[in-house]
């Protein structure tokens, strides 16, 4: 376990945050299978240490954008679990009033500027927020999470370049879970990897074990410091999605072996982070988290649906 995460309090706090995301998404997925949640959802189970490690290294005023698999980033940034669950349920008390859904969650008060469904689509927005911060003399960093699939979108490179030439405080975080749905990253991505692509733009980059929340937090803290003082940086977090891409994709899929999944499950971020903890440390956290998730479900279920009369509200003007 690494230096920043070494204090016992921090270790416990990081564990509890990972646990909250895990239990929240397990509950959401069950509600989805039971038909209480509509459409589709993308669980980040297995990848939680990336969200928790990176966001724990940000200052409270720093802002975050993410992708379609974004519940973990929302919770890590402090979005209320009840209002997040209510959004998944499509209810009025959801953070986006039931109009966004699982893939379009935002909570501006928390600096969580949103999850986006077009792969790579939020990356240039982070450049714009960072530009506004610079022009308006605000000392903030904008972190943007994207998957390994996004590194083959042109807008990623346009955005890296723009952030580099204007030296903007954008923290690019690539959550490399190895797959763009079913297509392996090592098949789809040419060259020497994601960090070398950032280096080509003069953007300092590091790769880190995305299952080790302490290591993620340490690397993020270094790179965020550089970002704040000097210009954009990139962190590649190597991680793994324990679930399928979405419901149409069974957890063990046709594109990866059960052995591969089992190997990664041994490196579950909860298991790694629990290494320094005693059962009596974990038990109260499990209880608190179970209560929080229970409350979130209660909030979601008791919230009314959005008013149909408001369907064209907040469009323009």
């Amino acid at each position: 376990m690494s230096s920043l995460a070494a204090t016992r309090e921090t270790t416990l706090a990081l564990y509890e945050r990972i646990l909250l995301i895990r239990r929240f998404e397990e509950a959401a997925y069950r509600r989805y299978e039971q038909g209480e949640i509509a459409g589709t959802i993308h669980a980040s189970i297995g990848q939680e240490a990336v969200a928790v490690g990176v966001i724990s290294a940000l200052a409270p005023d720093d802002t975050v954008f993410t992708h379609h698999r974004g519940h973990g980033h929302a919770l890590a940034k402090g979005v209320d679990p009840g209002r997040l669950m209510a959004e998944l349920f499509g209810r009025r008390d959801g953070v986006s009033g039931g109009k966004g859904g699982s893939m379009h969650v935002a909570d501006v008060e928390c600096g969580f500027l949103g999850s986006f469904a077009v792969v790579g689509g939020s990356i240039p927005l982070a450049v714009g927020v960072a530009l506004a911060d610079r022009v308006l003399a605000r000392d903030r960093v904008c972190a943007v999470f994207f998957g390994d699939g996004a590194v083959n979108q042109g807008v990623f490179y346009e955005s890296l370049n723009l952030a580099a030439i204007w030296r903007l405080p954008v923290f690019f975080v690539c959550e490399n879970n190895g797959f763009a749905i079913s297509v392996r990253n090592d098949y789809a991505t040419g060259g020497d990897g994601i960090c070398s692509r950032a280096a080509a733009f003069g953007v300092p980059a590091e790769a880190v074990d995305g299952q080790d929340v302490g290591a993620v937090r340490d690397a993020a803290a270094r790179l965020v410091d550089h970002c704040r003082s000097t210009g954009p940086t990139l962190l590649e977090c190597r991680t793994y999605r324990f679930m399928g891409h979405s419901r149409g994709d069974p957890p063990h899929g046709l594109y990866r072996s059960q052995d591969e999944v089992a190997e990664w499950r041994e490196r579950d971020p909860l298991v790694l982070q629990a290494a320094g903890l005693e059962p009596e440390d974990v038990e109260p956290m499990e209880r608190r988290v179970a209560e929080a998730v229970g409350r979130a479900l209660a909030v979601a279920r008791s919230s009314p649906p959005p008013a149909v009369d408001d369907v064209t509200k907040d469009v323009w003007g």
Partner: protein
């Protein structure tokens, strides 16, 4: 020159520039993003603004339309009021994902938490043998997107007023500049931004309504002169905005004339003239004496050859012929 009135002659391009200059003086959150905007290439609209307001607010971008548009959206939701310039609408296609999926939808998707006060300036229409990829007119597509407003000014004063207005809005506005108008001259009064934008009846007549915008208004005015000589008096409605549409002014004109011709530079199939024609039919009801007529582009990309190019788009002659047909007064 806010708070002061000044009347002078100006071109359409100078009017857009004056609006940017005046608005930027009043509001230091306005920033300009685009290619070659420091020198103001190719139409001179932004020339000199960098000297006035500095490189932090007038930023040349690399040739990266997607990231530039996305950067504009991100800056807009974080407290700036960006104006993103796209010289030719064919190039806007590279930024369309950011404009449509993000700028237009963010307020709605976030339940009203985020607002995107972004203005996108886009040059469109045929400018004379620039070929198929420099000559598109995308106003019809964009007017179809919930969450975008689309302005299409027809003269220098309109360009000034609409740009000033656009720069006071809290949601995204596409500012469609017909490139054939850049050198067109007219009177220009520098004044405060209007609080709302209504369609204008710019020529009054009782025989037929010609509904047009941008360059189409100039064509319709010329056709109006020729038709008047033949005893046919047309109403020319300058729509000014394609989304939202000023239905009240359209309805009033058509109720008065009972005949309507809709003019647009995009292809007829699925184009803006079709949208307008159906709106007119819905609004006019029993007042229509004959079915609505429309003029649009032929179903072809813009050709290079000048004669071919002219044959694709509505002309003064085509408007005159269409109005005569509506009125049962053929030239023969």
């Amino acid at each position: 020159m806010t708070g002061t009135l000044e009347v002078r002659g100006a071109t359409f391009a100078e009017a857009v520039r004056a609006a940017l200059e005046d608005a930027m003086r009043d509001d230091d959150t306005i920033v300009l993003l685009g290619q070659d905007i420091v020198v103001g290439f190719p139409f001179g609209v932004t020339r000199g603004l960098s000297d006035l307001y500095g490189p932090a607010r007038v930023r040349d971008t690399p040739i990266s339309e997607a990231a530039t548009m996305g950067c504009g959206v991100g800056a807009a939701l974080a407290g700036l009021r960006p104006v993103v310039e796209v010289d030719f609408s064919g190039f806007l296609l590279l930024g369309l994902d950011q404009l449509v999926n993000n700028a237009a939808k963010l307020r709605y998707m976030t339940g009203g938490q985020l607002r995107v006060p972004l203005v996108v300036r886009v040059g469109q229409g045929p400018i004379g043998s620039f070929g198929a990829q420099h000559s598109m007119a995308l106003h019809g597509w964009l007017a179809n997107v919930p969450g975008l407003a689309v302005c299409a000014p027809a003269d220098p004063q309109d360009a000034y007023d609409l740009m000033r207005w656009a720069l006071t809005q809290n949601d995204p506005v596409v500012f469609a500049e017909d490139m054939r108008l850049y050198r067109a001259k007219g009177e220009l009064m520098l004044r405060e931004p209007p609080s709302e934008v209504r369609a204008h009846v710019v020529r009054s007549g009782g025989d037929a309504s010609v509904l047009a915008f941008g360059h189409g208004v100039r064509l319709a005015m010329q056709a109006g002169e020729q038709l008047a000589a033949a005893g046919i008096e047309i109403d020319v409605v300058d729509l000014r905005m394609l989304a939202p549409l000023d239905e009240a002014v359209v309805a009033e004109s058509v109720a008065r004339t009972g005949r309507a011709l809709c003019v647009s530079d995009d292809p007829l199939h699925g184009g803006f003239a079709a949208t307008l024609a159906v709106a007119v039919a819905d609004l006019a009801g029993d007042a229509l004496r004959v079915p609505v007529a429309r003029l649009g582009a032929k179903h072809a990309p813009a050709p290079y050859n000048g004669e071919l190019e002219q044959s694709v788009y509505p002309s003064v002659q085509a408007i005159e012929t269409a109005v005569r047909a509506l009125c049962g007064r053929s030239a023969d």
